[in-house]
């Protein structure tokens, strides 16, 4: 595979695989039940029995990190894939639909993009209360515009090309043109964008959970572990470090992988750098 020829691509792939494996097989890797409390052992430092120490309730931090990865994976997988599919659909409608619809959709995309994600989250939580489902909805709503805009731009540039004109002259329907010619040409850039978007979504989930807007107790999330660690940072600094490491590695992994993929899909970018 061409994208594995560089060290960044290999490292990215390893980190991404590690992320998926640790999340999917968390029950196998976790040394303890992530919610099992051991109050006498609260805020214990890293040791052989608790590699990443324990939290305020004596829960094993490593086990909670592994289970927290499942939350991140769930949000990333669902959030990115759903927003990509919806964005793809809306982007093609904007490009090939009537002008008024294009203008309306652009207005909506820009309005959503202009609204700060955290403020949207705070406002929604005030109405509904915190939940993982809410985080997912906010991630999807705020991510759709970027996929839609990329799709629209790519579709518009293709719309005037000769082979599309030829298809039209031969009587091909809009649905056929979109499905057979536009879609294959925009999927590549969208996949790169999606790979780039995964760490952003993971960070959004962690940020929301850090602020108490995401998962509810006792569910473990990297954001809640980070928040709990922040509150006792002078007594138990390992909690913040332990929660920060997977966030950093996941971000690095997906970023390296996405860049490697981009180099493969668009070699001109590599030459230009």
């Amino acid at each position: 595979m061409a994208f594995l020829s560089g060290w960044q691509g290999v490292l990215g792939l390893v980190l991404v695989v590690a992320f998926f494996a640790s999340a999917i097989f968390a029950p196998l890797f976790a040394p303890y039940d992530p919610n099992a409390m051991d109050i006498p052992a609260r805020l214990s430092g890293p040791s052989l029995s608790h590699l990443a120490g324990t939290d305020q309730l004596g829960r094993d931090t490593l086990s909670r990190l592994l289970y927290g990865g499942r939350v991140a994976l769930k949000i990333a997988a669902l959030g990115v894939s759903l927003s990509m599919v919806i964005g793809l659909f809306l982007g093609m409608i904007a490009a090939f639909g009537p002008r008024w619809l294009d203008a309306l959709l652009l207005l909506i995309f820009d309005s959503v993009r202009a609204f700060p994600t955290i403020i949207l989250g705070l406002a929604t939580v005030a109405l509904t209360g915190p939940s993982l489902g809410l985080v997912l909805v906010i991630v999807i709503v705020t991510s759709i515009p970027q996929y839609a805009r990329v799709t629209r731009t790519a579709a518009l540039s293709l719309r005037g090309t000769e082979f599309i004109q030829a298809e039209r002259a031969l009587g091909a329907s809009t649905a056929r043109i979109l499905g057979h010619h536009i879609l294959p040409n925009v999927v590549g850039p969208l996949l790169i964008l999606a790979a780039m978007d995964v760490p952003v979504v993971v960070s959004i989930e962690a940020g929301f959970s850090f602020l108490g807007l995401g998962v509810t107790p006792p569910t473990a999330s990297w954001g809640t572990i980070l928040n709990e660690g922040y509150l006792v940072i002078r007594d138990a600094p390992w909690m913040v470090v332990a929660a920060g490491v997977p966030l950093i590695l996941t971000t690095l992994g997906f970023t390296f992988l996405a860049e490697a993929l981009r180099d493969v899909f668009d070699p001109r970018m590599t030459k230009g750098r």
């Binding site: 609260r42 305020q56 004596g58 915190p130 108490g212 509810t216």
Partner: protein
């Protein structure tokens, strides 16, 4: 010659504190005006309304204590609190259960040429309070009789034993200058129209508040010439500033208090003002899932309060056995009808014929309440009850049981709650009378004996009888099965060993009585 040493810890601590304080405009030079003794304290936010009738409370009461006269003040008596006359009066006596005679000290004047402190100022101030936001503190006051320039009588409309401790010693008991307040339009906000106390007050919003010597003050000299309070909203930042030597006193969070108790910073001491906060887990007795008292009693037996205090509060607060706080008459030292016993909890649930019960607990989304809620969640899971934790911001949290704020009270099942009060059991018990159902009695039970005892407790002046009354009232509360008492968090302050601090039992500092020893 003093050897100059620089350690990593001291460098980081000093650097952090100087950096933090620089952000709010503090310079070391500002702290040491020539020949002045300056006390450096923390303000957790701007004082917005200094008017005792419309204040928020907290540090606004602290400001009033420095600049306005009071008839009475708190006095610590071992582990309990009582009251004593202030230096603004030469006489303050309960003539009979409804008459309190007072005589103001001679020679005290209001600033700004507003004349001497008069008995008519007391009448104006206290009768004015009846129509304000804090008017409840003066429900028992009928009127103030002025018998001379400096003498008068507070006439109560019924015997009200807590009047000294709850009303006269606390912020609402501040006396205002009738002439100056009238000239200011009858109300004031961020500046006192006139002061009569050792300090004058000034503030820079968002940055600081300063108490400087009042040149017109003829009373006792305070311990410091100047008190400088810097706005530092984060408790942890203030703790860092203290450790770096940039503050002389600051409030402590419970986890830091535990850390200090294990390893106190050199030359520092902790003073606990009082433990007038009471935290409990409440249950809505009207909710269909909780109407059976056996279910509520099962929950009482299922919760491990000792673990909550250990994990959520670092073993710092006193374990609670009722709403009356330590140091007050009527404080309980044990529960009567429940203790942590998961087996008993399971048996009670079986007796009630309940299985697979699923409940929710609403909690403030701050550190300690959330940890407590998670322990309760694990405790209830151990007896077969599934508990969903609902974290809430302070806005929706504080109105969730209030009928006038919507319908959330109907869905309310369990919650953790913390109230703070004044040093008399009357205040803590008032929230659970029948008329408070739907206001602050979110547990929604009514008991005629409790209501009757409440009235008796207010009118009774015999301490032994009041003790019996308040103990019985808490027995009644516990017997409803609607309460799991948790803890009384202390109001604790750290300060250098050579500075003696003065704090009201409810935590307000009185800078006048700070002294350097």
């Amino acid at each position: 010659m003093t050897k100059l040493t620089l350690s990593r810890r001291s460098f980081l601590a000093t650097g952090t504190a100087i950096g933090a304080l620089s952000l709010v405009g503090l310079t070391p030079a500002e702290l040491q005006a020539a020949g002045e003794t300056t006390l450096r304290l923390r303000l957790d936010g701007d004082n917005k309304i200094l008017d005792p009738g419309y204040m928020i409370g907290g540090t606004e009461i602290e400001a009033q204590k420095q600049c306005l006269p009071f008839l009475a003040q708190y006095k610590r008596d071992g582990d309990s609190f009582t009251w004593e006359p202030t230096y603004f009066v030469t006489k303050l006596e309960l003539r009979d259960p409804t008459h309190i005679d007072f005589e103001l000290a001679d020679g005290l004047v209001w600033s700004g040429g507003n004349g001497p402190l008069m008995a008519s100022d007391v009448k104006f101030s206290y009768e004015r309070m009846k129509g304000t936001d804090w008017g409840g503190y003066f429900d028992a006051l009928d009127h103030v009789e002025v018998t001379g320039d400096r003498t008068g009588t507070l006439v109560l409309n019924k015997p009200f034993a807590p009047f000294f401790m709850v009303t006269l010693c606390h912020g609402p008991g501040a006396i205002l200058c009738e002439k100056a307040v009238g000239a200011a339009g009858g109300k004031f906000t961020t500046q006192f129209p006139a002061v009569c106390g050792p300090y004058v007050y000034d503030q820079v919003p968002g940055q600081s508040a300063t108490f400087s010597t009042n040149p017109e003050w003829t009373g006792p000299k305070p311990g410091y010439d100047k008190v400088l309070l810097r706005v530092i909203s984060e408790t942890k930042a203030a703790e860092l500033a203290f450790e770096a030597g940039e503050l002389d006193c600051t409030e402590l969070s419970t986890d830091t208090m535990a850390r200090y108790k294990a390893a106190m910073p050199a030359g520092a001491a902790i003073t606990t003002a009082g433990q007038l906060q009471y935290m409990w887990m409440g249950m809505n007795t009207e909710h269909p899932k909780l109407q059976d008292i056996k279910v509520r009693q099962a929950i009482q037996h299922a919760v491990d309060v000792d673990s909550i205090i250990a994990a959520a509060y670092s073993n710092v607060p006193a374990k609670s056995f009722g709403v009356v706080c330590p140091g007050l008459i009527g404080h309980r030292t044990a529960t009567k009808s429940y203790s942590y016993d998961p087996e008993k909890a399971r048996a009670l649930l079986a007796e009630a014929g309940v299985s697979g019960l699923s409940l929710s607990i609403r909690s403030l989304n701050t550190q300690e309440p959330m940890l407590a809620a998670q322990i309760i969640q694990a405790n209830l899971a151990a007896v077969g009850i599934t508990l969903n934790v609902i974290p809430l911001d302070s806005g929706p949290f504080w109105e969730m049981g209030t009928e006038s704020a919507g319908d959330t009270w109907k869905d309310l099942e369990l919650w953790t709650m913390r109230f703070a009060g004044t040093p008399d059991p009357y205040e803590a018990t008032q929230w659970f009378v029948s008329s408070q159902v739907g206001i602050w009695n979110w547990e929604r039970w009514k008991n005629a004996e409790y209501d009757s005892l409440y009235e008796q407790g207010i009118a009774e002046s015999d301490e032994a009888k009041r003790t019996e009354i308040y103990l019985r009232m808490q027995d009644i509360m516990e017997e409803t099965g609607a309460y799991v008492w948790i803890c009384h968090e202390p109001e604790a302050y750290v300060h250098p060993e050579n500075i003696a601090i003065n704090a009201a039992p409810s935590g307000e500092l009185d800078y006048r009585h700070f002294s350097h020893t």
